[in-house]
């Protein structure tokens, strides 16, 4: 046998390994170590067996983008909304140290109400604000497996409020987070951001982890300079266990608890001159949740999942005090026993119990309410002839306490043109249902000096749901193995949008009341596209880029508010990760967000960079710069009573140790 050129080399870094005995499993070996093993050792290596057929890259008939753990780590993001900047078509605006506005395909707001967010199957949509309080949605970022970002409606599967998009934050199984982790960060804006996790084996094929984290962020900046007063601290802890009970049954338990303390510079309306007063104060928020999920693989063709969770959220300051508890039960069954069909059906029940202590500025009537939602859904993915064309038909049937019965159907067609190309299109209906804030609330918007006149936004108990009919078309191609391109286009037709209309003034004696009553006021339409690409330029150099465009127009109707011009028409991002020798890694990200014309926010570029170095096995140090282009810039307008805040340049260092 002749000597091959390669036998003389390729012994890179794994000498230590060769000198020791063979480890029991391949799971903790580097590719290089496995490559350098002898044939005899290879045959004795234990592996965890997987399906022989690879899941094809992305066959979903929807505009899906997946942010992986690696993406999060490389981006230097310290929170979930920061990580979401990587997804095409998602608008992420930071409105202060602890406030975020995140949406998909338009209608952004601090409580953007057309985006549904789930963490491990638990809806984190806040029942009072009909939106996500982003700063309270967190976990140890290192334990996130992936974030699936779906633009466009997902109501057939996820139900009401999955109107413009769904964000699924999925944490790793406890089996994949064994051992310890300690991470500590500090910088000019991050006073400290520390986390720790420990995972152990608790039985035969049964694993658990616990984690705790502490975030302490310094205040951002006032418009025109100077520090704002919005520093905040948050403590959070949680656990997860994953057990395989039998070959068929798996059980997951998890839970989190948190408490947050947010400073805020409010300017509150008042009926006495000068009708506004500064009120710097703190908002205290606490919450927790417990979830259990039982999955059972009945046969190769049939599997079920049953999930139950409890979630409590509460917050309190001088003008709001709200406490909500949600109990949710969900069942799902997937059945592929009928050839050419993949049937998924399920049913769910959710009960929310909340109460509010009314204040002059915010009140709910009734102050306490129990309300429930129940639903069932059925979906069938039908293989058409030829076998690479699929038609997915389905609908959610849902009943809620406000608008009653809702139907959310969709039809999707996907065509796997080849292993490298697929095309899809869909038509779907989604609704955003009324809730506590739109039906039972009164929120003072301001006080006019003449009178004086109190202007509150007043809920309307007879509102119908907001409706969307969405038309989508998408195409994915992998022209060569190292390049993938994804294009999605959409046309959205909205009707019955909740918008305020100023009513007639009412004489209240010492003042006048000018109500801004919510009605199913206006219709709107949007069109646009998102383009994203990933390129493995070399083994060590990965690039990704995305561009998105949206044109959202409100159909003119006098007397109603109009949100045209509140969306960035264009956004793009460009990211580059390079793996240098000696375990040095550098990621540069450039983001552009177009101007929000009617909110008077200019377009901005944002540049982030992260340089990391593996000191020793399991220990990594990194330096991150965020918003490097300008000392401060504005991303969004102030919410309700808040003072406008700009986001500053941030530099922090991190050390992470895994053991």
């Amino acid at each position: 046998m002749r000597t091959l050129p390669l036998t003389s080399s390729t012994i890179l870094g794994s000498l230590a390994f060769i000198l020791t005995t063979v480890p029991a499993t391949a799971d903790d070996l580097s590719p290089q170590a496995v490559l350098n093993m002898s044939l005899q050792d290879l045959t004795n290596l234990e592996v965890t067996s997987v399906s022989k057929k690879a899941e094809k890259a992305n066959e979903a008939a929807a505009a899906v983008f997946v942010i992986t753990q690696e993406d999060i780590k490389r981006s230097g993001a310290t929170s979930i909304p920061e990580a979401l900047r990587m997804a095409p078509g998602i608008e992420v605006a930071q409105a202060g140290a602890h406030d975020w506005a995140v949406t998909s395909r338009g209608f952004n707001n601090q409580f953007a109400n057309k985006l549904l967010v789930l963490i491990d199957g638990r809806t984190v949509y806040n029942p009072l604000f009909s939106g996500t309080i982003w700063q309270l949605q967190d976990t140890l970022l290192e334990d996130i497996d992936r974030i699936e970002v779906i633009r466009g409606p997902g109501a057939t599967q996820w139900g009401a409020n999955a109107v413009n998009g769904v964000i699924n934050i999925i944490t790793k199984s406890a089996k994949d987070t064994q051992g310890g982790l300690v991470s500590a960060s500090a910088g000019n804006l991050i006073k400290s951001d520390d986390g720790t996790r420990y995972g152990i084996k608790i039985g035969d094929d049964s694993y658990a982890r616990v984690y705790a984290k502490y975030t302490d962020d310094r205040a951002e900046y006032n418009v025109g300079g100077g520090r704002s007063d919005d520093a905040w601290q948050k403590r959070q802890a949680g656990f997860r266990s994953d057990s395989k009970l039998t070959d068929q049954d798996s059980l997951t338990f998890q839970g989190d608890t948190y408490s947050s303390h947010e400073a805020e510079d409010y300017v509150l309306p008042s009926l006495t001159s000068p009708y506004l007063f500064a009120s710097p104060q703190d908002i205290e928020a606490t919450g927790g949740n417990l979830l259990a999920r039982w999955t059972r693989n009945i046969s190769a063709q049939s599997s079920t999942s049953m999930q139950f969770y409890l979630d409590n959220t509460q917050y309190k300051n001088s003008w709001i005090s709200y406490n909500a508890t949600t109990a949710d039960l969900d069942f799902q069954h997937t059945w592929t026993g009928w050839e050419g069909n993949e049937i998924v059906w399920g049913a769910g029940y959710r009960l929310i119990e909340d109460h509010d202590a009314p204040t002059f500025l915010v009140s709910l009537a009734p102050t306490e309410r129990n309300y429930s939602t129940y639903n069932t859904f059925l979906q069938d993915k039908i293989t058409l002839d030829p076998k690479d064309v699929f038609l997915t038909l389905g609908s959610k049937f849902e009943h809620n306490a406000y608008s009653g019965f809702e139907v959310e159907p969709s039809a999707k067609l996907s065509w796997l043109i080849s292993d490298e190309q697929m095309a899809w299109s869909s038509v779907s209906r989604a609704v955003h249902t009324p809730g506590r804030n739109t039906s039972d609330s009164q929120v003072v918007l301001g006080v006019l000096p003449t009178g004086p006149t109190l202007v509150p936004a007043v809920g309307n108990p007879s509102l119908d749901s907001e409706e969307l009919i969405a038309y989508e078309l998408g195409y994915r191609i992998q022209p060569i193995k190292s390049i993938s391109v994804d294009i999605a286009t959409f046309y959205n037709d909205y009707s019955k949008l909740f918008l305020g209309k100023i009513g007639a003034p009412v004489n209240m004696g010492s003042y006048f009341l000018l109500p801004d009553v919510l009605e199913n006021g206006n219709s709107a339409h949007s069109d646009g596209f998102e383009l994203s690409t990933k390129i493995d330029a070399t083994t060590n150099w990965q690039l990704s880029a995305s561009y998105s465009y949206i044109n959202l127009q409100f159909n003119a109707k006098t007397g109603y508010g109009d949100l045209t011009g509140e969306q960035p028409k264009k956004q793009f991002n460009l990211r580059s990760t390079y793996l240098f020798p000696y375990s040095i890694e550098m990621t540069n990200s450039l983001y552009y967000v177009d101007s929000l014309n009617t909110l008077d926010i200019p377009g901005y570029y944002r540049f982030d960079t992260k340089l990391s170095y593996e000191l020793m096995k399991g220990m990594e140090v990194s330096l991150v710069g965020q918003n490097l282009l300008a000392p401060q810039h504005k991303e969004f307008s102030a919410f309700l009573y808040q003072t406008p805040v700009e986001v500053g340049r941030s530099v922090y260092g991190n050390i992470t140790w895994k053991f």
Binding site: Q32, L35, L45, T48, S49, T539
Partner: protein, 182 residues
């Protein structure tokens, strides 16, 4: 803005100057990492006839036909390449193109229903046919992967290999779970 673009580009230019890769991307799928390592060993322990013989300066194409997680192990072969020997993982949708340039063809489990057709067409070609389809070697393939007690073993069909004009080193036969010679 311009400065930043410059920094961005400069950062990437520095990337280009970097030396040889020291780590490949972590591969979640260890089963196929191990299979890739086996295939890398096949390159060392199999001799191809003239025309395909590995010289001091060779490009070896390892072709994956169909849909297999093995397709994701390209980086492993890149990492194993040296200045004199380049190993490339090529994904071939159409198996009939495979024998022209491939030293090794891996037939994915997705192609099981076309197996006899593929083997018949490739018969006698100087291409090492590898697969993890059940009983691959017994069905006329050359090297089949089998999973035994969570360990990956190989079954060699010596007859099929010699018919194709290939020669296997004794070390490979020694570690085989089974050698078929008919």
């Amino acid at each position: 803005m311009q400065n930043i673009l410059r920094y961005f580009i400069a950062g990437c230019l520095a990337c280009g100057l970097a030396a040889t890769p020291l780590h490949v991307r972590a591969d979640d799928n260890k089963e196929y990492l191990v299979k890739a390592a086996f295939i890398y060993n096949f390159v060392k322990f199999v001799e191809w006839p003239d025309g395909k013989a590995i010289s001091k300066q060779s490009n070896i194409d390892i072709c994956v036909v169909g849909n297999s997680p093995l397709s994701e192990t390209g980086n492993v072969f890149k990492a194993a390449s040296t200045a004199k020997l380049t190993l490339s993982l090529v994904n071939e949708r159409n198996w009939s193109n495979a024998h022209n340039h491939c030293h090794i063809v891996f037939i994915s489990a997705s192609e099981e229903d076309k197996l006899s057709e593929i083997l018949a067409a490739m018969k006698g070609q100087p291409v090492l046919m590898v697969s993890d389809i059940d009983n691959f070697a017994a069905k006329g393939g050359m090297i089949g992967f089998v999973t035994n007690d969570n360990k990956i073993k190989i079954v060699i069909n010596a007859k099929a290999i010699s018919t194709a004009g290939l020669r296997v080193d004794a070390q490979l036969l020694e570690i085989a779970l089974k050698v078929i010679d008919k």
